[in-house]
Symmetry: C2
Subunit: 300 residues, 2 copies
Amino acid sequence: MSLPSLNSLRTFESAARLKSFSLAAEELFVSPSAVSHQIRQLEERLGVSLFLRLDRKVALSEAGEKYYPQVKIGIETLLNATRQLLEFSSESQSVIKMSVVPFFATRWLLPKLEKFRQAYPEWQLKMQTSTVASEFTQQGFDLVIRRGTGPWPGMVDKLLCRERLAAVCHPNMSAEVSCIEDLIKQPLLINAKVDSEWQEWFESQQRVFSTPAMSFDFQNTAQILDACLSGAGVALIDPVMIRQELAQGKLINLFELSVPSLRHYYLVYPKAYQEQSNIQLFERWICAELAADPLMIDRL
Amino acid sequence: MSLPSLNSLRTFESAARLKSFSLAAEELFVSPSAVSHQIRQLEERLGVSLFLRLDRKVALSEAGEKYYPQVKIGIETLLNATRQLLEFSSESQSVIKMSVVPFFATRWLLPKLEKFRQAYPEWQLKMQTSTVASEFTQQGFDLVIRRGTGPWPGMVDKLLCRERLAAVCHPNMSAEVSCIEDLIKQPLLINAKVDSEWQEWFESQQRVFSTPAMSFDFQNTAQILDACLSGAGVALIDPVMIRQELAQGKLINLFELSVPSLRHYYLVYPKAYQEQSNIQLFERWICAELAADPLMIDRL
DNA sequence: ACTATACATGAGTATTTACTCATCTGTAGA
DNA sequence: TCTACAGATGAGTAAATACTCATGTATAGT
């Protein structure tokens, strides 16, 4: 069974309650003519006269008297449900729950979060570092920051910064590497989730990559960095993210070069979320921060 | 606050209950794509994700779980209200309540009503003879049959038959009237609601009407007919309505002529009622009966 | 590897909706 | 008698709605 439009039902409820078309028009911010049309349309659709027209007044007909109480309840139920949902959504919109890939979180985002808190003290950030895909939809994350090639279906993916990769190692290891071919004789630190990465790097330098003498697998770049700092091997890391260690001589860029990576950092969220104020706010803020970071100038 | 469309809410309710967009599509007789669009539209309008997309399934999100019970209640309330209204209306649609001008009722309609009952035994007719205007809207009449000039504002007025008027009287009076001018020397029977009628009739015959020697006022034509039959005076009456009395010599048409009246018989009802099956049925029936009546052939 | 399933998305289109504006009609009150 | 009030009506228009169709993507099952 097809229902009349919610708009005509709301018009009916208003006119019935106020016993006046013109008062209903005022309440609904439309002209009296619009109310008259809506009521008439509703009556024609239902095949019943809902109002008795009494010269300059209207009164509910018998059918209208029967219909009104239930219509009022139905409409108010839907209004309350929607209002509560928006309040619920509004509350949750004072919170921003995000999952961030660990390396980006520790090397760039966390040091900036104090600036966010100072700018938006009323907003509460909840952050989790993780590399697991898609859990944002299941664990109530508003957004995630991911390293990858994009795009993610059904998602908005906003490029945050591009990645470049350099072969870096502890200074104690550097004497044993004089050219790129020497790399495969050293232990290589590999990201288990992106195990083609070394090969891609070699190919970008027109070199043939072969199985290294030794390699260690890690779950993410943050762990690779730790191992690299302790001299466990050579790693492919974006120099901009380790600029302090490079400056302090704790690590060196073996060939003084960085190569465009096939992966980048993205802000990702479901398209259905894009009207949410928490997401819009955070997106605006993070883009502005990246644009304001001089070391990120060529990564945008 | 503006509500989402009832259609999108119903789609949400169906998909939530069935936990499946494609099953909802089946239930609602649309394509899965339509459901997907509707849900997405609703989510965008509300700024909240209502479903979690799980590979080939959907599940309600936290917000969806909160929204669903109230939406279900609201929709069912409106559906039940509308269904009951239609049932109420449907019951009342097995009944036809009408108010009919007494003369037409007794002279033409009542003798035909047996035919209506035989044709439509499931329909119940409730008839009241009255000449009071507009009460059909206040007393729950579905339609009225009125004599008048039309049109009636906000009403559908369907011409049933045209009226012609003849000067008629009892045979005992006829010898005293040899020409139209003689009429004013006789007692004239006057319809109090249409007191200009005699003057109109004189003027149609290019005669000057002046105050009669004697006149009697009546509330309606049926009463005028009774008085006329008893020899109380001369009346203006449509000969087609008194054809039996004329044939039996109980009355005579003094000048063997009838003049087009300025008033006719109409079926009248509010425009809002025109989709009602009882009205459509009765209107169809009465028009067919009038068309089938040979004596009404020149009155349609 | 192939097929079926189920949701997503973009483009397009016909229909419906939701008014406003201009005007009318019939009181009610001063 | 005139003015204000209140609902009715028709015409017109912009916007919204409600889909379908074609296609894509990602499993799940054989």
